[in-house]
Structures are given as structure tokens and as C-alpha cells.
């Protein structure tokens, strides 16, 4: 894992709980009592009429649907080796709780992906420090 080739995120103080949650294999979403959860993590509710700074972290189910996707044939790390070649799927997942997030789909055949397909989270421990939220078909 030490030689992971892909780009790694670096948390900010505001997003640290999100990345800490993933490391424990939990998808945590910042949540407003009135407006519900949002993505990506911000320390306030990003609904302009609310703009409430009282945010709690809640655990998402990890279930969702493929909102839209592409199949990249580019050799972008980590999809650039003999073991892990392109093509690969980049998808926007609509979580059961509502927010949408970018991810990769783990697919035997990328071209069997469909819009609105049901998926669930896979916690990919790409390094000792970083776990990426990826998804696979249910």
C-alpha cells in the first residue's frame, strides 16, 4: 500500500472528521437538524436560507444510485498498471440520504454500468492513512 500511485487527498481541519470516519469504515456526513445532510463537508449548512453553523456528523447507510458516470480509457494513476489497467468508471453517486458525491465504481465490466443502478459503498484502504469511498453494484 505504501506505493499507492493515485492522487491522495489532504484533509483540512473542517473535513478531518469525514476522513477519520472513512478510516474507520464509516461514511460520515455533516448534517443540519433542519435541512439534513450535505456533501461535501462544510462546517455549516450550505442552504443559503439556513446557513446554520450548528452541524452534527451522522453516519450514512452507504447505499445509493449511479446518478451519472463516464468510462475513462486514460491511464490515470492508480489505473495505469498491468494489474489495474483502464478502462475504469468515474461516477456521481446519489446517496440514499440525498447528497451526491464523486467516486469510482468497482466493476468487472465497466460497460455494464447503467444510470440509476443501485450501488453500495466499499471502503478502499489505499494507504495506512487514507481510505477512499468507492462503490459496487448491489
Amino acid at each position: 500500500m505504501a506505493d499507492y500511485a493515485g492522487r491522495l487527498p489532504v484533509a483540512t481541519p473542517e473535513s478531518q472528521p469525514y476522513w477519520d470516519g472513512l478510516k474507520e469504515h464509516k461514511l460520515m456526513l455533516p448534517t443540519c437538524d433542519d435541512c439534513g445532510p450535505h456533501f461535501y463537508p462544510r462546517p455549516f449548512c450550505p442552504m443559503p436560507k439556513c446557513f446554520n453553523w450548528d452541524i452534527k456528523w451522522t453516519q450514512a447507510s452507504g447505499k445509493g444510485k449511479v446518478h451519472t458516470f463516464v468510462i475513462s480509457h486514460q491511464p490515470i494513476p492508480p489505473y495505469n498498471s498491468e494489474d489495474n489497467p483502464p478502462p475504469y468508471v468515474i461516477a456521481v453517486i446519489e446517496l440514499e440520504e440525498g447528497p451526491r458525491m464523486m467516486s469510482n465504481l468497482i466493476m468487472d465490466d465497466p460497460y455494464s454500468t447503467t444510470v440509476d443502478m443501485d450501488v453500495e459503498i466499499v471502503f478502499d484502504d489505499v494507504t495506512d492513512e487514507v481510505t477512499l469511498p468507492k462503490f459496487k453494484p448491489v
Binding site: G6, R7, L8, P9, V10, A11, T12, S15, W19, F39, Y40, H67, T68, F69, V70, I71, S72, H73, Q74, I76, P77, P78, Y79, P87, Y88, I90, V92, R100, M101, M102, S103, N104, Y111, V115, D116, V130, L132, K134
Partner: protein
């Protein structure tokens, strides 16, 4: 809302001497050469410039490089539509007396990478929430909304392929176009293509094949603007700004509110129409930023030229010309002339293409386009996104 209509004019517009592969020129040299060419086009001295607007560079960088000290600056740098937004801001600045002669510059070593800063922070939202999923530049992100549009409206790759073929047909009439017949080479190709050629080209990032994607180039362009009162004092016929709009809708494409509608396009378009007192039916010629074939389709829908979801069949409509040739809806001879320079798809795309869309609108309105001149162009729209449908800028320009 008609305060800005016809108050300011573009009196100079030009690209760099060449476009394409220019490893001998840096980012700032491209800005400067484009500035020289646009000022020469207008017949204005650099010494008269007192407003400077640029993207992809801090205004101070360009001012220092050129040796000027402008009293009005704008460094709005939100991607390819920055220059439409600069024109809008220059109109306001000239009307307010903040400057008299506004110079808008673009220079980008998008292919050779000579002083081309790349990539953002790994702590930025994009660095945390998109980049780790093997995002590889625009083909993997500008493509994200497309399959949702296909899913909801039945749009197809065949529809999109017609836009590429139509745009190439315009490029074949433009000696400057990288992929046009004039500049075709055995290595790079160029010259006429059919929709089937687009579908047969190498897959880059489904649903985009190679010929759904813009070219990658070095180049630059610039504009010079002055008040309507002074506009007739210069070398060329003025092109008046009738209307303009801008918007910022999101930044990461995953956070786009509705992947089938560009909110920014609608906001910018509505402001442009309102300030011009015009609607889509009044536009004779469109320059719709085409980083990919899907991009102008979204513009045609969100700017009201076709109902939402009907852009695919609209652009796929063809007719047969007098010599049996295929006439594409948006191509030469078609009834929706669009991207008549050959577009980002086949003319030039540096990374922030919007400047070139405006230059072509100006040239069509002046009647300077030779073989590709569209008859009776009196009102032209230049519109583009910045980022992945993230921001938008719209201009409605006229020669009268």
C-alpha cells in the same frame, strides 16, 4: 435593464500570429503578442490602454510584462468564459469612467506547457473529493453530465457526432483552423469528417471518442474596447455590446445541481437577453464554446434555441446540398450557423477558448470571414462555460 445596450464597442480583436504548437512562446509572451495584434487591428497605441482584464495571469503580471500601469484591472479567471465576463465588466468600467481603453488578453501554453501552472491543492475541495478518483483533466469531468442527459432525454452519441462533423466543415473553410483542410497533415489528420468517423475514432472517455474532444493548443487572443462615442475613430467598424450576462453555479462537476441543465448558462443568458432587449429568435449567428461536442448542445437548450432535451435531434438534422453533399444543421449552409471558425473542436483550444469565440463573432459581424462568412449576420451571440459548466458568460454583439 437596457442601460448597457450599445454603450461600449469592441474596436480591436485578434489572435496570436499562429495557433497550435508554439513551444518557442511562453504564457505571457502569448498575452503580449495577442495584445499587439488586437491593438494594431484597432489602430490604438499600447500607451492609450488604461484598463486591463485578463485570465490565467494576474493583471499585474501582464501589466508589468507589457510595461503599462492601468488604472482599472480585472483578473476574473473562472475558465474559458472569463473573457465574456471581462467584456461585460469592461462595459461597466468604461461607462463608469474607470477606464477609457480596455484591453482584454488571453495567452495559454496549453499544449507545450511553457509556464503553464497545473493542478490545485490536495486540500482544496477538488483535491479531496474528486481528484482521488482518477480524474484526468477535462475529458473525464466535462463528460460527467452527458449520460444523465442521454438517460433523461434519449440523446445519443450519433446526435453529438453530427456537431463534430458540422464544426469540421467550418474549419475546412478557415485557413487558421488546426484541423481544417488547409493545415491537414499525415500525422495529425484534418479535413472533412463524417459522424461515423467520430464514432469510429479512439475512445477517450466514454461517451467521448477522440473526435468528440477539442484540440489541445498553444495560443492567445485579445480584444480592445472603447465607449460608443469614440468607437468610430478607429480602423475597423465597431462591434457594439448589446447585452451581457455572467454567473457562477458550482465548481466541482459532481456538485452540479442538475446534470442536464447548466444553471449558469440560464442565468447568464437571461441577463444577456434582458440587457439587449432581444431573444433567441433575434440571434443570427452563435459561437457556443465547444470543449466537447456536448457543450454547445447544452447551450442551445439552456439559452432557449431549442426546448430542453431536444438538442440532440436538432443538431442531427441534415439536408442535401445542390451537389449531393450533406449539409449539417450547424454547418456551412445549415440554418443554425454555429462555431464558424471551426470551434474548439477543430480550430483551436488553448484551455480557455472563450476569447476565440468572441473574436469570431466580431469577424462575422464585420464581414471579414471570406469563405466561411455567414450571410446577413447582424447579431451574434458568444457564450461559454468556465470549468465544467461551473460558470458562464454570454455576450450579444451587433454591427449596428
Amino acid at each position: 435593464m437596457d442601460q448597457i445596450r450599445h454603450k461600449v464597442a469592441i474596436v480591436g480583436a485578434a489572435e496570436t500570429d499562429d495557433l497550435g504548437q508554439l513551444p518557442h512562446m511562453s504564457r505571457l509572451a502569448l498575452h503580449a503578442q495577442a495584445a499587439k495584434n488586437a491593438l494594431d487591428d484597432a489602430g490604438i497605441s499600447l500607451a492609450d490602454v488604461d484598463g486591463l482584464l485578463c485570465a490565467g495571469a494576474i493583471p499585474n503580471e501582464v501589466a508589468e510584462y507589457l510595461g503599462i500601469q492601468p488604472r482599472y484591472i480585472d483578473g476574473t479567471s473562472v475558465g474559458g468564459c472569463s473573457f465574456m465576463i471581462h467584456v461585460r465588466h469592461a462595459v461597466a468600467a468604461i461607462m463608469a469612467g474607470y477606464c477609457d481603453v480596455a484591453l482584454v488578453t488571453h495567452g495559454e501554453s496549453g499544449r507545450s506547457g511553457v509556464d503553464a501552472p497545473r493542478g490545485g491543492s490536495a486540500s482544496s475541495p477538488g483535491g479531496q473529493y474528486e481528484a482521488p478518483f482518477a480524474i484526468g483533466g477535462a475529458p473525464t469531468t466535462f463528460s460527467i453530465p452527458v449520460l444523465r442527459h442521454f438517460h433523461e432525454y434519449g440523446t445519443t452519441k450519433e446526435h453529438l457526432a453530427h456537431i463534430a462533423a458540422a464544426t469540421r466543415a467550418w474549419a475546412n473553410l478557415n485557413p487558421m483552423a488546426m484541423m481544417g483542410s488547409h493545415r491537414r497533415t499525415p500525422e495529425r489528420g484534418g479535413g472533412p469528417i463524417t459522424p461515423q468517423d467520430v464514432l469510429n475514432s479512439r475512445m477517450i472517455c466514454y461517451p467521448f471518442n477522440l473526435l468528440d474532444c477539442c484540440v489541445v493548443a498553444d495560443g492567445g487572443g485579445a480584444l480592445v474596447l472603447v465607449s460608443e462615442e469614440r468607437a468610430k475613430d478607429y480602423a475597423k467598424d465597431p462591434v457594439y455590446v448589446l447585452g451581457a450576462g455572467e454567473a457562477a453555479a458550482h465548481w466541482m462537476v459532481s456538485q452540479m445541481r442538475d446534470h442536464t441543465t447548466a444553471d449558469g448558462y440560464r442565468i447568464a443568458g437571461e441577463a444577456a437577453y434582458k440587457s439587449a432587449g432581444l431573444g433567441p429568435q433575434d440571434i443570427d449567428h452563435c459561437m457556443f464554446y465547444d470543449a466537447f461536442t456536448f457543450t454547445p448542445l447544452m447551450a442551445a437548450e439552456d439559452l432557449g434555441f431549442v426546448p430542453k432535451g431536444e438538442g440532440g435531434p436538432f443538431f442531427a438534422e441534415t439536408k442535401t446540398g445542390p451537389n449531393g453533399e450533406v449539409i449539417y444543421k450547424s454547418g456551412p449552409g445549415g440554418d443554425f450557423p454555429m462555431n464558424t471558425n471551426g470551434g474548439g473542436l477543430s480550430y483551436c483550444h488553448t484551455g480557455m477558448y472563450g476569447m476565440f469565440a468572441i473574436i469570431e463573432s466580431v469577424r462575422q459581424l464585420r464581414g471579414e470571414c471570406g469563405d466561411r462568412q455567414v450571410p446577413d449576420v447582424n447579431v451574434s451571440m458568444a457564450h461559454g462555460p468556465g470549468g465544467m459548466f461551473a460558470s458562464a458568460g454570454t455576450l450579444i454583439l451587433s454591427n449596428a
